[in-house]
């Protein structure tokens, strides 16, 4: 049995990457009008958290459209390195096996948020690291 003092201070480097995804549909037939969108987001957050501890924070989202309200849905994604440029290679397939450095089990985020036209809002997030979690760096993205 080890005391808290001898167990030491183990930090985990946690990195969250919010993403903005927008789609374009190419259609070789009749056209359908739909709304376009623009967002401002907190691009990246880095944390150091001890075993057994939690942190809470907020992510910023701004609706850049002045006329369209937005219903934003969010999900957690794993990612790896695309290449040496630092661009992430996102794991969009939810059925894919989790990567060893995933932060997904430890993050809580709301499923959706509404952002009125021209407004911004803060999204609460929390990260809880189990007391038994090993030391290391963990990364996830919020799409």
């Amino acid at each position: 049995m080890t005391s808290t003092n001898t167990r030491g201070f183990i930090k985990r480097m946690l990195r969250i990457l919010p993403l903005f995804a927008a789609g374009i549909v190419l259609f070789a037939a009749s056209s359908v009008q739909a709304a376009s969108n623009g967002l401002g987001i907190t691009p990246r957050k880095d944390y150091s958290v001890e075993q057994g501890k939690s942190i809470s924070d907020v992510l910023y989202i701004s609706n850049l459209s002045l006329s369209q309200n937005l219903e934003v849905t969010m999900r957690l994604l794993d990612f790896g390195a695309q290449n040496e440029t630092g661009a992430p290679a996102l794991q969009l397939n939810e059925d894919a096996p989790a990567v060893p450095w995933t932060l997904k089990p430890f993050i809580k985020i709301p499923k959706s948020v509404s952002v009125p036209a021209g407004k911004s809002t803060n999204i609460p997030i929390s990260i809880s690291i189990p007391a038994s979690q090993g030391a290391g760096s963990y990364y996830s993205a919020i799409e």
């Binding site: 995804a21 549909v25 376009s36």
Partner: protein, 352 residues
């Protein structure tokens, strides 16, 4: 009667004593009333931080024009009242003070500079009383702020060494403050928008459906979309495209795995982020930003598509940059009929 003072004697004695006492007080009061008050007095200190080595500027108007001024004493005290013995404010140190500027009544040199007293001296002459005089001292160490308020008694003398009767007197006040620190932060933000067209900023983005019309073997079908991105984050941004080629059920148009020219009559689907001449479609990136297309999407008249490709990137903060994606679709003569669609998702993220 012997050994006792009569009541009359007592009354006389008391009257004499009172006369003498009043006379003494009257003489004392008459002596103070001769020193006139220096006018329009002020003390400006360059820094109000405790213990700061700073500049003290005294400004005042001499009151007495008929008496020569040979010296001026500046004495730092915790009270302005001359009747109260001067107690130096803690921490004050004027021993290194230098007179760097003097206007109005001038011609002074520093005779002595002690921790809490500076004496200026010159050949006695009448002062200038029309308008103010100013004396600037550098290298004065402020008090330590306990108490925060301090005073400087300014006294002029006809003598050259600040001794003897005073001519004019005045006191100025100042204070040592701890200051107010104001801090703020500009957080990192990434802005991104996508539309069929973005005439101005993101608020003008419109459309997310591109109708390519009827596909023909003899001619290429073309379309464009636009996206803008900007970030103040030190780590920059990356824009990637995800999706599939154009499909109709099990029938697909061949995505161009590497940058390839448009070739009507062949099954092709691809895009780039440049202005093209063959076919005539698209625009080069616009705006003051530093984000650029990645190599595969940066070749005019060459088109490619691989889901997950990074199409544009900036490794540092970038102002708004507008990219125009140019799409080409060609079909072979054996292409099965149908409605072909593709949904492309552009994902913008920070780099790491």
């Amino acid at each position: 009667m012997a050994g006792r003072l009569s009541n009359q004697g007592k009354r006389v004695a008391m009257m004499v004593f009172a006369f003498v006492l009043m006379g003494y007080l009257g003489l004392g009061l008459a002596g103070q009333a001769d020193a006139l008050a220096l006018g329009e007095r002020s003390l400006l200190i360059d820094s109000s931080d405790a213990n700061a080595d700073t500049q003290h500027t005294f400004t005042f108007t001499y009151a007495t024009s008929s008496t020569s001024v040979g010296s001026v004493a500046f004495e730092y005290c915790t009270s302005p009242l001359p009747a109260i013995a001067c107690s130096a404010p803690a921490g004050i140190d004027a021993s290194g003070a230098t007179l760097t500027q003097q206007t109005g009544t001038n011609g002074f040199v520093v005779l002595s500079s002690q921790a809490s007293r500076i004496v200026l001296s010159r050949a006695p002459s009448v002062p200038v009383t029309a308008g103010s005089s100013q004396y600037v001292f550098d290298n004065v160490i402020n008090p330590d702020g306990t108490p925060s308020t301090f005073y400087v008694r300014i006294t002029t003398y006809p003598t050259i060494d600040a001794t003897g009767p005073e001519t004019d007197f005045g006191a100025v006040v100042n204070a040592i403050t701890s200051g107010i620190d104001i801090t703020t932060e500009v957080p990192p933000i990434l802005n991104f928008c996508v539309g069929v067209s973005i005439p101005g900023d993101c608020s003008t983005a419109e459309g997310n459906l591109i109708d390519l019309g009827t596909l023909k073997t003899a001619d290429v079908s073309i379309g464009t979309s636009q996206m803008t991105a900007a970030t103040n984050a030190l780590f920059g941004l990356a824009i990637a495209v995800y999706g599939t080629t154009m499909t109709s059920g099990n029938n697909v148009l061949t995505p161009l795995a590497s940058p390839t020219p448009s070739a009507p009559g062949n099954s092709q689907f691809g895009l780039n982020l440049r202005a093209n001449s063959t076919p005539g479609i698209g625009q080069d990136p616009q705006g003051a930003g530093s984000a650029v297309p990645t190599a595969s999407y940066d070749i005019p008249n060459r088109f490619t598509f691989n889901s997950g490709d990074v199409v544009a990137i900036s490794s540092s903060p970038t102002d708004t940059r507008k990219f125009t994606a140019s799409y080409i679709v060609n079909i072979s003569p054996t292409q099965p009929p149908g409605v072909y669609t593709a949904t492309l998702t552009y994902i913008c993220s920070a780099t790491f």
